[in-house]
Amino acid sequence: MNIKEFIFIAFILMVLFQLFIPAQMIVQRENVLRRGTAYKFKTAPIDPSDPFRGKYIDLSFEATRFYTDIEAWRGKQGETVFVHLSTDSAGFARIQQISLLEPATEVDYLKAEIRYVFKGDEAEASHIRISYPFDRFYMEESKAYEAEQVYRESRRAGEQLTYALVRIKGGEAVIENVLIDGTPIQELVKLRQAESH
């Protein structure tokens, strides 16, 4: 095998490597999106900007606290845990249980991180605060700002419900959309932009 053939093989391997890694990211997430169970996470978006990856809405969720005795959880801040999910009476996701090990049973769960462990005082009981892996929703720059406006107004109106539609499968979670009262946020923004013109 001479130098030319060696370089040829090396080049092909490089190309495959560079295609494989992003492809794997895609396949993994497509799988979750198509075959995962849908959960609705109630949220309150804000709006920063990441220079390399476009503009997104920063999402923070309501169902992030799990009230429990925290003795066993001391010092575990930043660790990865498995959050078992169920739905509340209104159909929104809530934390059923948190475990350090991957659950073996047929329960819907996802991997998350412990944000902090709260010791508990007179004002509030002890709990664990979770941060979910889907805290961003990418939107076109012009729309991201409008989306925040739409949300703020909906808040002032009082009743509207904003939530993220997330697909769960095998511990992985992929965010599908952000909806206000059942309408995807992009459509609301489009309507608003159409109205103002």
Binding site: A10, P22, M25, I26, R29, P51, F52, G54, F134, R136
Partner: protein, 435 residues
């Protein structure tokens, strides 16, 4: 340079130092040489063009078109990547020796890889951290360094892994030690070594030396977490190693501005010494002494400091034996001497402070003496600069009256002028003696 040469040739012919025929031969030689050399401007433009196109692609895609379906967006994400790979393949096949093609196509591919990953992150709303993104980008670009023998790729890779280390070590909210960094650096070392072997004196290689040294210096600080005190020793030893390497014969052949390790090593050592000449620093170290010694032995800072110091001392003594290759300059002695001084300082801050000041004073005097003896204006001023900085720092340290400080400043300024004036006079009088 060509114009200067042409002028010189004409002058030499006029003064009848050179025969007209010889002058023509010289002109013909340089003409042929220029035609053979690859047009550097083309290479630069090739790289710049690829860079701009690559950046443009990223910016356009960052705009994130909401209206397209997920599959369309995904396909679009791979277009620049495939184009880049095709371009690289073409460079390898048809333009193997053409540097601009190789460098241009690999630069484009690197940016295409970045665009690809960032687009996919957007399409699937992947949070991920900046460090993860940079790491993936760097690793996917690494093969280009070897498969296409691309120097630009190795520069990007170096910057990439340094950025990754900075993200983890300094900028992440829970800063940690980037343990992956040494391994990542190791991956590009074969290329570095080949560069040293094949084109040791090229400008690019000297630039590379600068980059590697800068990367090491900036990343070392990430080790400082709980036992930061040992970082001083670590840095002093790193600067010592860099300076020692920079004063070996191989590096001395570079023009002084190209000698990255030597410049960074010497500047770093002196700055650190000046920083450590303040009594306050040593007092704080001594106050923490109870926390320093017993438990530190397994702290990462201590281990790294120990390794680097061991390296510096070993390098010093091994090269000391090979005298013609390398002479121990006072600066390298100083970085080694710092180690015992540091230990002294832990229990005796005042002694350490005095010792450091004495070292700096001696260093300054040494350079002044070298400068006067060898009629080297730069050296002389360098020595004066060290001593002046030392004195100025002590002004802030101690409680001398303002009037006295004023006098001393004036004295400093006058001595600067006087020393330079005397030196120049000596130079011109000795030049007159020669002619």
């Amino acid at each position: 340079m060509r114009k200067a040469l042409a002028k010189a040739l004409i002058e030499l012919v006029n003064e009848q130092v050179l025969s007209p025929e010889k002058a023509d031969e010289i002109r013909a030689y340089y003409q042929a040489k220029n035609e053979r050399a690859p047009n550097r401007l083309m290479i630069v433009f090739g790289i710049l063009g690829a860079l701009l196109v690559g950046l443009g692609v990223i910016l356009i895609f960052a705009h994130n078109w909401d209206d397209l379906s997920r599959s369309t967006k995904t396909i679009l994400a791979f277009v620049p990547l495939l184009m880049g790979q095709l371009a690289c393949g073409y460079s390898l096949w048809k333009q193997r020796e053409n540097i601009s093609w190789r460098e241009g196509s690999s630069t484009f591919l690197i940016f295409a890889i970045g665009a690809n990953i960032s687009l996919i992150s957007q399409i699937y709303h992947i949070s991920g951290s900046m460090s993860g993104f940079i790491l993936t980008w760097a690793l996917l670009s690494l093969p280009l360094v070897y498969v296409l023998r691309s120097s630009m790729s190795s520069i990007f890779y170096l910057i990439g892994i340094s950025w990754y280390a900075w993200e983890i070590g300094y900028w992440h909210h829970s800063s940690q030690i980037p343990f992956l960094y040494p391994l990542l650096l190791l991956l590009v070392l074969p290329h570095y070594y080949l560069l040293y072997k094949k084109s040791a004196s090229s400008n690019f290689t000297s630039f590379y030396h600068w980059l590697v040294a800068l990367s090491l210096i900036t990343v070392l600080g990430t080790v400082a977490t709980d036992h930061e005190e040992w970082i001083f020793v670590a840095y002093m030893s790193l600067f010592g190693i860099l300076f020692i390497i920079g004063s070996t014969r191989y590096f001395k052949e570079y023009r002084s501005l190209n000698n990255g390790p030597a410049i960074l090593g010497s500047t770093g050592t002196i700055l650190l010494l000046i920083f450590m000449s303040f009594h306050g620093i040593w007092r704080e170290l001594a106050d923490n002494r109870a926390a320093i010694l017993p438990e530190s032995l397994f702290a990462p800072e201590f281990i790294i400091a120990a390794l680097l110091s061991f390296g510096a001392i070993t390098l010093f003594f091994i090269l000391h034996r090979r005298q013609p290759v390398w002479e121990p300059a006072p600066l390298s002695w100083i970085s080694i001497l710092f180690i015992p001084i540091f230990f002294t300082g832990l229990s005796n801050p005042l002694t350490a402070t005095v010792l450091i000041n004495v070292l700096l004073l001696l260093l300054g005097l040494y350079h002044i003496r070298q400068g006067t003896q060898k009629h080297h204006l730069g050296r002389l001023n360098f020595g004066l600069l060290i001593i002046s900085t030392l004195i100025i720092c002590r002004f802030f340290d101690t409680n001398i009256s303002f009037v006295l400080r004023g006098f001393l400043f004036v004295a400093l300024g006058v001595s600067f002028f006087a020393a330079n004036y005397i030196m120049l006079k000596k130079k011109s009088s000795s030049a007159k003696k020669l002619s």
